[in-house]
Symmetry: C2
Subunit: 362 residues, 2 copies
Amino acid sequence: MAISERKKKILAAVVDEYIRTAEPVGSKVIAQNAGLGCSSATIRNELAELVNMGYLEQPHTSAGRVPTPMGYRMYVNELMEKQKLSLEETEEINRRLNTKLQQLDDAISDIGRLASQLTDYPALALTAQSTVTIKRFDLIYVDANTFIIVVMLSNNSVKNKLVHLPISVDQSMVQKLSTLFNASFTGIDDEQITPLLISSTERAADDTMGIASVIAAFAIEVLTEANTPSAFITGENRLLSQPEYRDPDKAHRLMSYLSGGGHILPAADSLDGSEVRVFIGPENVAEELKDSSVVIATYDAGDNTKGLIGVVGPTRMDYSTVAAKLGFLASQLSKRLGGGESPPEGLHNKLIIKGDDTNERR
Amino acid sequence: MAISERKKKILAAVVDEYIRTAEPVGSKVIAQNAGLGCSSATIRNELAELVNMGYLEQPHTSAGRVPTPMGYRMYVNELMEKQKLSLEETEEINRRLNTKLQQLDDAISDIGRLASQLTDYPALALTAQSTVTIKRFDLIYVDANTFIIVVMLSNNSVKNKLVHLPISVDQSMVQKLSTLFNASFTGIDDEQITPLLISSTERAADDTMGIASVIAAFAIEVLTEANTPSAFITGENRLLSQPEYRDPDKAHRLMSYLSGGGHILPAADSLDGSEVRVFIGPENVAEELKDSSVVIATYDAGDNTKGLIGVVGPTRMDYSTVAAKLGFLASQLSKRLGGGESPPEGLHNKLIIKGDDTNERR
DNA sequence: GTTGGCACTCTTTGCTTTCGAGTGCTAATA
DNA sequence: TATTAGCACTCGAAAGCAAAGAGTGCCAAC
């Protein structure tokens, strides 16, 4: 059975109203607000059919209607008006992105925080699996017992480590190792760092003290970390302001799940399109999210790396606003991070700095 | 009026029981459990006096007794038996510290996470203001438009930044700047990096393109960040499992306050003694904490840097266990970070690595 | 197809009653 | 003098109940 235009309008009105008030919506308010010239009795007939069709449901026989996940799905796909952000809003986001990105290159946790603040829902930020390689290797000799490893990755982030040795190493050895590593450890991924490669490097450097293996271990660590999806959740506490999580047990369950980290990754395997995606209630694979909704947007962080930002909330989520904000945020991130060569806005009056003094955590 | 031995025992029994059950404690259970051979009527008389003295209170005329903050204070100061951690517990903590510290040098957020997991309360971790200076400066030439700044700090952490220039710089210039900065920007704090110093460095390097000021800006940024107290909160959601935060509004208020970050810093100005400190309910300066308790322990992170770990919970907190765990955790951290030269346990069979590939976030 | 009207349903709210845990007090006891 | 048994009393929590109200479903009329 096809859904008539009027039914669509009514359904949209129900969803809008329910999103606003969190109360089951009665026929009367729709008759008044939706502005289609018919009485509440007519609306009642239509509502009854919408219930039959599975778009709405009643908490109990004599209450207003509440959208089902299927109703929300219809709303998201066809009915909701695509929100346009106001100029102030886009400027606000850009302004805050500037201050963030100026300092941090891959500050995904800060991006999550921003998303959470913008939408007032808990937000998650994660990076997808990617194939980062080492672009450049440097060892800095500090003193006879100390040197610094500096590794520049293909995604232009730089990692370092201070190594303190219980033995003495002279500067020429450090120099030699630096050259050797730069020659044989660049452009490869972590799987290609084999014991064989390490031992041959050791031999080439006359390294009898296992220094090369320490450096190699760091290389593996850095590559593994850069290639491992990492997830952050921020603003879990915002859940508590939503009436559907007034039950502390329910809230606790979901929050524990969220702080657990990357469990949402199952949703991330389909990180392709750049549009905003919505997962409504039971559409989520994770059991804990079956009665919540997730909105995600992906961005291109350059060098084959995809990033994802998303927010979690009740199925009665303000999809329209959230989708608009996340979409804009993601597009801005793509523009700033993805292009690679194009300088981020707001910095062109100064030397361009692509900074990285921070590694994300797990 | 002095408090008799028996009153102390009774008070201790009330607090213990209340901590366990979260229910007002009646005279009967004390008579049975506390094991001092007297009847419930005697207990009742004593309880009435304890109420008069301010150690206990009654939610209503005909309910059991609940400790007042003053009662908890007495309990913490004199009555509670100092918990000794079991061997398994200390080993568990050490084991987890090993895996943390192996990877991260100043991973205060991970330490907070650990504290939260150990105690099952929200935890905060922060570093105090300290005076870190730059120990060493290196510039790595990457290509004509790119170089890396590597800064080693007096606390042995290393920070870096990739700088991408819209203009060409040749290797000798980078080299020259590196030497100059190493000579004049080390051993000073951020206040001493004056425009005068920058411009004189610029002149000395024949730098007409403002590269020196970019480098100096990074130096200031790094020093400022290293010297600024930073705070992390983890495990806020654990609040929700405590009955006193079943009211979502109350929980939300406290959690928002906590996620706000370093507001707890007022408590941190007294970072002196290394013992464990307890702030009970109204003893907290922050309004939002007036009916919660905070237990903190400080550790010495070396190079004049003090760190702090703490947990937040209801006044009905398991002070004994929490204090024991935090105290042990802090002492282990002091041992591992503070000594500076003494190698962390569990690594002595390998080359000693003092790693830092991560900067904490704000 | 639409609408007004009306009986019906089911939750919410407020009130009253009951129940029970725990107290405070008094008088008896060691 | 300190302790104890006993008992009346208090007060909150839980249960039961009635009234109110929102909203529906359906029917007859338009």
